[in-house]
Symmetry: C3
């Protein structure tokens, strides 16, 4: 995952443009089913309009002494996102209105955009900015804002192995230039989940994975697919900030009462123990759209360090040193267990009244392998398997991971003592 | 408010009689719509009967040395409420059975009544009582207990500015003689609320304000108006003990689950921060009747120092030094905000799916006036405006005062992004 | 109760056999209505089969020096429960596989059984075992495992004094040999409850008391009576471990939401103050069957020291010194109050609107006897008697014992101010 992130890192992503296309093309090498959609600029999507497509040929700022002090080719964060084309020369004072830096993080290039208000500018470290000398600065921004362009997104489905319309919805975004936790951790973990999903012998759900530009992309996607999603989606996760190794975080759906929320809390409790639990008031990514009133998809977020909470967020310091192989593996593991929990979460009914005589059914093994369910698990599952209490609820009652109980439940089913309803 | 309370202070109120009439007459100068009702003595009201009307011409107790040691004309608390007429002379020992004082508060005249059991007596400070000398005491109580009298109460309605039957019910009482927190704070704050209600451009509710003798008056009022009240009243408050400046208090309805309770807790949390939260077991005023089973009006109480909890309660020390202009202003402010919260508490629905593009709607003001809603407020309201969650519930989620959010909601409605359901 | 337990102590109970019959015969002297049922070995009961009937004529283990070191006649715990017949002589090493002792409690004979797997063995103190010398040991176990035998249980009903099908179900067990808290405390407390129930002038419920072998007996009983029980049983308790004086314990029904649970918590709160509250995960007696999915009887457990939590459990130290007269009296008192609470727990409705004028109804007694309800109780009951809130719920709100409030409720009914719904 870390190597894939490194490949994708330099591509000049934004909410539209060739950087998104290049990113999806590279992902498609690992995601053979990926379908890429183009939505024309000017298309109305709920309250929004798909903006002109933005591409950049070159962009640089040259100091009076001839040194290029900010060059898009060197680091795409240097250019204010959606900068309009401009070629000019101007004095330092006039230039300042077009410069962006972070005094609170003087060594980092900040990430700044101006999607919906025409503007241009350069982002640089506050140290660089403080050293700028008076004089004439040359500005070249060779960009296009094409009203006949389009917004690009990708999607695919890993089908269920049974006949069902039910879908699990996974969304991640591909619109941030060279940043790693927020954002490349998302697409690369989604890609790893895709591979794992295909490896399964059984899938009770279809898995829809979408790669969209944040906000406008999610809104565009919803405006074209809302009816289908509302009918089909039974659970899902927004995959964002899953790459560093400093924390685990949970951000609920609007009401926090969906199966995705239950699963997220269950998994983080058992995998991470202590984790940062946010509220929907702390939202900031595409859960804002997926959980909006009237949309109401059951989407929760399981993250490592949440957007907006770590100091490197939205700067050039959110890089591939911050995001580690271990961090990505942890993010992947948490989300994979969420999907495992969804698959495992069936509702069972005991087939006999009262406790069964377990020894008659070969469920008191004379020797137990490490990891084998304890006989107590069998009795506990049977004690709560009333056809209404889900295995996840039983797992919560027992404070045990559902993936352990699921094996005991399968043994009970094979013994004829339990059946899914 | 304090000046009005001072005017009303000396009037000889009881549960019936001319003191009530004089009080209502003085209030009517500020409440032009006040209608005064007379209910004949002997009228059956649920389990109760309206008692004979009680009036007092004079009442005094004279010591052996000729000094008047308790005179109704000097302080109407000196006479046991509902004392029957008597003219007699008797020794100190015999007199003691008719004297009432408070050893725990030796400088105060206690407030004592005997409405439903014939009796007579004088109330005096325990210091006075301890100094009484043996000898003959002259008792004169020139009172009447008129079986052909009546019980008097007042009521008025401030009408809604829209077509609606829904009423907010405000009740306060006018039966205690010279006491200030419990009771005059109630009628004077109710009078101030009346004035404020008339000043409003819009009222979504009719406001019914009643001035009744406590207990028997509330029961009498209910027995004549219960059907109408049960059909119309959507919220309300019993206004009692709203005049000192030492505390804020909340006493819930029977189940504590009405909109009046929600509003009361919301207002006290935001205005008073820390406040004394009682339970319905601590009830003692007319909420006993309004929240009785089968009556079940949605009535809560917002108070300053609650009846029964402060040392001056039901003594001559509950006076206009205890009740201050600031105390009354605080009681008024809390109840006015409760009514503001009721008016503001609508349920909204977002008119567009997903987040709107706020900048398109002029809701990212370039300059923000102090008190102007923050853009975050708009997005938060929209995020929860699902047509089911009320603005008060949203305000609780955001831990912000509803009166602030209400302005943001109005702006969103004007922008066409939100609508009340 | 302690004397009856002492009589029953030596009888050789097991899940079948003459020890159970002798126990029921002795109990029948105090329980004239007791009906004894025999269920043939081999009868299928849900997932189980009634085992062969086990009886023992004699069983002893003789050391190389001729001393009997374990004799069933001396203490029936010495024999592994359900030991098959054997007469043999074998060396110490070979014998060890058939010996049971508790190194953690070296002075006690442990209680061990092998109901469903053919085996034989002797139980002895670990001190005894450590002192065994090499040599030949003589084993005599003269037992029978009769496929044509039966499982024995007893039951009786104390009828309601009104016409009703509603039953309270009390279950206790009679299958442990010489042990006192777990088990004889159960049958003797049940016997005392029977006597108390007959002494009542009024019973709103039928009381069914069953004396069954644990697990297989309860399952057998349920398999024959489930339909009736599901239709009739409104509350009940499994009576186990009610004899020592060290603690009170509560173990809930599966969901902990039945009236039996409410009553158990209420009684223990008021009688015991602090008590050990377990969860259904700590289950271990016949609540496993009564609360199984599909059975779902409303059965909770009120205990002294719970099975499995005290060091003497399932050893010869669980004797009649551990179980005391005071301990039994406490267990009886708690369960009796549970039944009192069930009888008292009616739902009332106030017959008049608003508070009544209590003095008119003689409910302000001039002199109050100790234990008489306080007038405040009357008003509080009336304030919540809405025809939906049960007296137990009112008692919880007031944090007062229901048996106190019940007297006030009866007075209100007699005064015509309250009526049951």
């Amino acid at each position: 995952m870390h190597a894939l992130a490194a490949e994708l890192f330099p591509l000049p992503r934004s909410i539209t443009g060739n950087g998104v296309r290049q990113t999806l093309a590279r992902l498609a090498e690992d995601l053979p089913d990926l379908e890429v959609e183009e939505v024309p600029s000017g298309t109305r999507c709920f309250d929004w309009t798909v903006p002109p497509e933005w591409n950049v040929s070159e962009a640089h700022l040259t100091a009076p002494d001839g040194r290029r002090i900010a060059d898009f080719a060197e680091c795409n964060l240097h250019l204010l996102g959606y900068s309009e084309p401009v070629t000019t020369s101007l004095g330092l004072e006039e230039l300042q209105a077009h410069l962006y830096s972070r005094p609170d993080r003087p060594g980092a290039i900040p990430y700044v955009t101006s999607y919906y208000k025409r503007n241009w500018g350069f982002c640089l470290t506050d140290n660089q900015r403080a050293a700028l000398q008076p004089g004439q600065y040359d500005v070249v921004i060779d960009s296009t804002l094409d009203e006949n362009g389009s917004l690009t997104y990708g999607e695919l489905v890993v089908p269920a192995t049974i006949e069902t319309d039910a879908e699990v919805f996974l969304s991640t975004y591909v619109c941030h230039p060279s940043m790693a936790n927020n954002e490349l951790s998302g697409p690369v973990v989604a890609t790893a989940l895709f591979r794992w999903l295909w490896s399964l012998d059984e899938r009770r759900y279809n898995y829809r994975i979408v790669f969209v530009p944040e906000t406008i992309g999610a809104i565009t996607y919803l405006s074209r697919n809302l009816d289908h999603l509302k009918k089909s989606v039974v659970a899902g996760f927004n995959i964002s900030c899953v790459g560093d190794d400093r924390a685990y975080s949970y951000l609920p759906s609007r009401k926090g009462d969906t199966i995705s929320d239950d699963v997220a809390r269950h998994v983080l409790h058992h995998l991470a123990g202590d984790y940062a639990a946010f509220t929907f008031l702390d939202r900031g990514s595409d859960e804002r759209q997926y959980c909006a009133p009237g949309v109401d998809l059951p989407i929760a977020s399981v993250m490592r360090s949440k957007f907006g909470t770590y100091p490197e967020y939205h700067t050039s310091d959110d890089n591939l040193e911050l995001v580690t192989a271990e961090g990505l593996a942890g993010g992947y593991r948490a989300l994979r267990h969420c999907l495992m929990a969804l698959e495992a979460n069936r509702t069972y009914r005991a087939t006999v009244l009262c406790e069964p005589q377990l020894s008659r059914h070969g469920l008191y093994p004379s020797a137990r392998m490490p990891g084998d369910p304890k006989p107590k698990d069998h009795l506990n599952i049977l004690a709560y398997a009333d056809g209404e209490t889900s295995l996840l609820q039983i797992a919560e009652l027992l404070d045990q991971p559902i993936w352990d109980l699921s094996r005991a439940a399968s043994q009970l089913c094979r013994a004829g003592l339990l059946e899914p309803v």
